[in-house]
Amino acid sequence: MEQKKMCLGLFSGSVDKLTAAGIILSGAAALDMKVDIYVLLQGARAFRKDIGDDAGKLQMAENPALKDEFLESLKNLKVKTWVEFFKEAKEITDVKIHICGLAGKIWGAEKLDDFIGLTDDICGIGAYISSLEEADINLFI
């Protein structure tokens, strides 16, 4: 069976959209897809080593007033955190996480070591566009 490829442009750095991205990523992993994630603008801030799973430092994209309820429900339902979803997907299938170099600089993170350990490299827009062109599925969150 030919391996399908998903390309995910991850612009959002909000905890609700990052969680959605993690769940979608799990579905792709279950189907053995190859996934390329390009972490753009706000997303790069969430990937900073000192932020990541620290939900207190992340916003909600949809209805900020519901953040506490959202996080509490996830906990009660034993839903993994967004970082745990990304980590698990990487253990199951070929997932590469690329950080946009400019986005990193905007948030004061220039080196790979400034980001959470799941990150594979820092790249430019050319790599993202190439991946978009090659992928079977393209998502932008």
């Binding site: 069976m1 769940i23 799990s26 579905g27 992993a29 279950a30 189907l31 053995d32 339902l77 034993k78 839903v79 698990e88 199951i92």
Partner: protein
């Protein structure tokens, strides 16, 4: 297969994913399928309504044979054969 037939099949692996919400059961199934041999049967226990739709679709994509689902009190038993 009918529920009666499913109740009597010989299961090699039972994956209890009742403690997790979507996508937990699907990922548990994905991890467990690697531990059984082709032709063997696995059941996935899930309390998540979505799993009984997810697993047949996943089987179709991955080439495994979906055998059927039994609805128990508060959870589902979803059967598949590894291909």
């Amino acid at each position: 297969m009918t529920p009666e037939e499913l109740r009597s099949v010989s299961i090699t692996k039972s994956v209890d994913a009742r403690g997790t919400a979507c996508p937990g059961p699907l990922l548990e199934a994905k991890k467990a399928i690697g531990t059984i041999k082709v032709g063997e049967i696995m059941e996935v226990l899930s309390a998540d309504e979505g799993t009984k739709v997810d697993i047949p679709k996943w089987c179709a994509k991955q080439g495994h044979e979906y055998l059927g689902t039994i609805e128990e009190s508060g959870f589902f038993r979803i059967f598949l054969k590894k291909k």
